[in-house]
Amino acid sequence: MGDAKLDLLQGTLDLMVLQTLAAMGPLHGYGIARRIEQVSGEEVLLNQGTIYASLVRLVQRGWIAAEWGTSENNRRARFYSITRDGRRQLAEDTRYWQRLSEVMSRMLALETEGGKR
């Protein structure tokens, strides 16, 4: 895999945002982006700008809410927080991802034993 950063799969960013908000409480866009970068250990290839497309999508689906507020250093910023529908969605997506990653690990383990690599 080398040093190249991970490309995000479709939909994974949404899930990361939901999880971040569920864990951290209300945050602004920059905060969410930074948080994802930190948690991922700078492994994810993320143009921070793309976070806003994800945010607007989640707001439109009613999974997160947004309101204008003031940041820690007194800056006007939009704060996002997860809604009840969002938490339900998060739980559902989490289950899905866990199942998928288990299956994927098993599949990939199989291939490695075959010794083709």
Partner: protein, 881 residues
């Protein structure tokens, strides 16, 4: 699901409220960058580097904004709006092209919508009655006789009403009505009124309710009952100014006080269904007891019981009618009618089906030609825009996006054409709907209805795809690099392009050729019809309905008519005058006719159309007396009975012998034949000549009177003095107008003229478009070859040679197109063979003339560019390129 709905709603909202959302994003992005910069500074970066790093991490504000928009809004619509804006901008820049394209499309689409409306009204839409599919038309078998042969007696009608088992109801109308049969008096000048007597249950069987008032009650439907009348909607509006209080009042019809029981709805127009081109003002009860002894007078309409197939009802009618007596009181007159049935709709519009379908195809072909033409125009335009597209492509526009742009253009053009075309169709349809004299059924129902609107949308879309496709396809093959490099001059794509446009022009010429040949054949037929020897001269002759009161006395009638004619003939400008009771091409009756001493079987009993005419009538009509003499006033009630026959009748009765002086048996009389006239087209211009007989009013009872005058001046000029003369003789004379015999003939040929004019117009349009197409292609190729031509001329090629080259290229296209067109025309001509009159489908004259016309027009279309080519100055051509 809930999330999806919410999102869709939000996306739509975001699409509309674009500005505030963009602003919100910009604010968020700015805050984001500021926070990132601050953090970077806190981490020890220099401010400019901190800002730069923040921007790098953000990854392009513009891209993020686009992504934001695409996620939150409706990107598809966004792109569409963009394309539309761009299209409108380019079209505005290319105003000439846009106007020509929209106009061509409007003509094509408008013509299609108008014709569709006609087809829809006459063929597709059901009749304006209740459950019209149950209605069955019943008449005697059509033959060369007149109305008497296809009508039934009151006795037969009632017998059928009693004895059938498959009808819910059977009704009838009196077939021998004429225009202005009635006289409305007591309201100023006596007014002529057209009316038709219908059997009491007529409206119930058709399922039509009166708009005001009521239908007739039993005491109005018996002999010597209370006289009653129903008014037509338009007559009520015109004559009584829509006065509702007229219901229940009496009006004087033929000097009889008659009760107005109701007004029929606007949608009910007897003429439009049963007598195209005629309009009825009133409906009066036809009372069987009053017409029982009048012989065959009724035409029947039945309503089949639900669940009974019309075929079964028809079979029953065919079985029953042979058993009915002509007259129940006189079984010795014989029995044996036959029934010839059709669905009523078929009776009304069946014989127009083929013509209408031809019209529909012709107009469809126009649309095709329009599409081909536009395709050509667009191709020329995209070729000129190759570099623009190549540039846009190089700047990152996807190929799909560019094709989409092209299609958007064709849809915008098509939509504009459709809107304009619809307006055009509305105008044409409104005009047609008021052509009362046009003998086409259901014209009063003609309008652009929702179905026609749907049709408009459909053909607009089809057109847009058809003509947008060629440029789109071509574009997807264009070599962008090549286009950018050499600008398309003389490259292989250019040549391919010319081939494609050539093929389009050939198609166009072929289609125009088919239209022209079809129109030519129909036109030739129409001219043949106009050329028919009618047996009388309609020019300079006119007819006028006259009233007189003879008290049923034949001698008195003779005196009145003689005096009337003498006075009228004395008016300056009147060359000849005579009176008949039924005009040819207007209405007719037929009676049995035989030679005395010969017994005929019921099957080959000859009949003749009978007119009761005064001395001088033959002259006034311009009929030709072949032998013998005209009637004279001396042929009185007590003298030897006399008859004049036409050649067909004489031949039928005494083949190969001299008929003059022989005794004929006609009606109840046995007159001597005193004259023979040339055959007259009595029932229709295109019908064959049937036997005819003329009797004098002094020896037979006429039904009404039409004064026919032959004039040296236009009849209208004389109308006043003739009317004054008639009024002086009879103050009750109605204020009718002269009907010129030309108008009578005109009315009879109006359906054919209608089709010829339309198909001819379409052919003309096709020719014009083909001409434009040829001109466009040749002119464009001359422009492209300016340099080449310049070189040739510099090398010594003469102007004439250059011209010849261009014209030869034009002719090649035209000849190939015409060859294909002529081949297709042979096929099409066979399809329309039944619409032709006196013209063979492969009429060589028509084919040759139309081909020559097309060649000539192609030559003209090629000549202008050729002229331009020959005027190219080699020095200028070489320098500018």
């Amino acid at each position: 699901m809930k999330a999806f709905l919410l999102q869709s709603m939000n996306r739509m909202r975001a699409f509309i409220h674009r500005e505030p959302l963009d602003q919100q994003f910009d604010e968020e992005a700015a805050a984001h960058l500021d926070m990132a910069t601050e953090e970077n500074i806190r981490n020890g970066m220099a401010p400019t580097e901190a800002r730069r790093q923040a921007l790098v991490r953000f990854g392009g504000v513009q891209q993020a904004r686009e992504q934001h928009r695409a996620t939150r809004g409706l990107p598809f619509l966004d792109v569409l709006l963009q394309d539309l804006r761009y299209t409108l901008r380019t079209l505005r820049r290319d105003r000439g092209f846009a106007i020509v394209a929209v106009l061509i499309l409007a003509l094509g689409i408008g013509a299609n919508v108008a014709v569709f409306s006609v087809v829809n009204t006459i063929l597709l839409r059901p009749l304006p009655f209740h459950d019209p599919q149950q209605l069955m038309w019943i008449q005697g078998p059509p033959h060369e006789g007149g109305l008497s042969g296809v009508t039934y007696s009151a006795d037969a009608f009632e017998a059928y009403q009693r004895r059938n088992h498959s009808m819910q109801g059977v009704t009838a109308y009196f077939a021998f009505y004429g225009t202005s049969d009635y006289k409305l008096t007591g309201r100023g000048e006596p007014q002529p009124v057209s009316g038709v007597p219908v059997v009491g249950n007529f409206f119930q069987v058709l399922g039509v309710q009166p708009y005001l008032g009521r239908l007739w009650t039993p005491d109005e439907l018996v002999a010597k009952g209370r006289p009653a009348v129903l008014l037509s909607y338009y007559f009520w509006r015109r004559e009584f100014r829509g006065d509702r209080s007229i219901i229940g009042q009496t009006i004087d019809l033929n000097n009889i006080p008659t009760l107005v029981t109701g007004v029929m709805p606007r949608s009910f127009d007897f003429g439009s269904v049963f007598a195209p081109g005629a309009s009825m003002d009133i409906y009066v009860p036809a009372i069987p007891d009053e017409i029982r002894t009048w012989g065959n007078t009724l035409l029947l309409v039945g309503r089949v019981k639900p669940g009974v197939p019309m075929g079964q009802a028809a079979a029953e009618a065919r079985m029953l009618f042979p058993d009915f007596y002509y007259n129940n009181k006189h079984p010795e007159y014989g029995k044996g009618y036959s029934a010839w049935t059709q669905p009523l709709k078929e009776h009304v519009s069946g014989n127009l089906r083929r013509s209408l379908i031809v019209l529909w195809c012709a107009v469809g072909m126009i649309l095709l030609i329009v599409c081909v033409n536009l395709s050509n125009l667009l191709l020329a335009r995209t070729a000129a825009r190759d570099r623009e597209f190549a540039m846009r492509s190089a700047l990152g526009a996807g190929r799909g996006r560019l094709v989409r742009q092209l299609l958007t253009e064709s849809f915008v053009l098509s939509a504009a054409g459709a809107v304009l075309g619809l307006a055009f169709a509305y105008g044409v349809v409104a005009w047609l709907a008021h052509q009362g004299s046009l003998a086409l059924p259901l014209l009063n129902e003609l309008r652009v209805d929702p179905k026609a609107l749907g049709w408009t949308v459909l053909i607009a879309v089809i057109a847009a795809v058809l003509f947008g496709l060629a440029p789109g396809l071509r574009f997807s093959r264009v070599d962008l690099q090549g286009a950018l490099k050499d600008g398309g001059h003389g490259s292989t794509t250019g040549r391919q392009h010319d081939r494609m446009r050539g093929a389009l022009v050939i198609t166009e010429v072929a289609l125009a050729c088919v239209l022209l040949v079809g129109a030519g054949l129909l036109l030739r037929s129409f001219l043949k019809v106009l050329d028919i020897n009618l047996g009388f001269q309609p020019e300079h002759a006119a007819a006028l309905k006259v009233d007189y009161d003879d008290g049923g006395n034949a001698a008195k009638r003779g005196a009145i008519l003689k005096q009337m004619l003498d006075k009228v003939k004395a008016i300056p400008g009147i060359e000849a005058a005579g009176i008949t009771d039924m005009l040819p091409l207007d209405r007719n009756r037929d009676w049995n006719l035989g030679a005395k001493g010969v017994t005929y079987s019921a099957k080959d009993q000859p009949g003749a159309l009978v007119q009761i005419v005064t001395p001088g009538y033959l002259d006034a009509m311009g009929m030709r007396l072949k032998e013998g003499r005209d009637f004279s006033w001396a042929d009185g009630p007590t003298n030897q009975r006399v008859v004049i026959l036409d050649e067909a009748a004489a031949k039928r009765l005494w083949p190969g012998q001299d008929p003059i002086g022989r005794i004929a048996v006609i009606g109840e009389g046995e007159p001597r034949v005193i004259g023979i006239v040339a055959d007259v087209r009595d029932t229709g211009v295109e019908d064959s000549d049937g036997p005819e007989a003329y009797l004098p009013p002094t020896q037979e009872n006429p039904v009404g009177a039409e004064l026919v005058v032959r004039t040296t001046q236009p009849p209208d000029v004389l109308a006043k003095s003739v009317m004054a003369t008639l009024r002086a003789l009879n103050p009750g004379q109605t204020a009718t107008e002269f009907r010129s015999l030309d108008a009578l003939v005109d009315h009879a040929v109006s359906p054919r003229r209608f089709f010829v004019v339309l198909v001819g117009a379409f052919a003309g349009l096709g020719l014009l478009l083909a001409c434009l197409g040829i001109y466009g292609v040749i002119s464009y190729s001359v422009t492209r070859q300016t340099q080449e031509i310049g070189i040739r001329m510099a090398l010594g090629s003469s102007r004439a040679r250059v011209q010849l080259g261009v014209i030869a290229r034009t002719m090649r296209l035209a000849v190939v197109g015409i060859a294909a067109g002529v081949a297709a025309s042979f096929f099409v001509a066979q399809l329309i063979a039944s619409l032709l009159f006196g013209t063979k489908p492969f009429d060589p004259l028509t084919f040759a003339a139309m081909t020559a016309l097309l060649l000539l027009v192609a030559l003209l279309a090629g000549y202008l560019p050729a002229l331009r080519a020959s005027r190219i100055d080699p020095m200028v051509a070489l320098r500018t390129n």
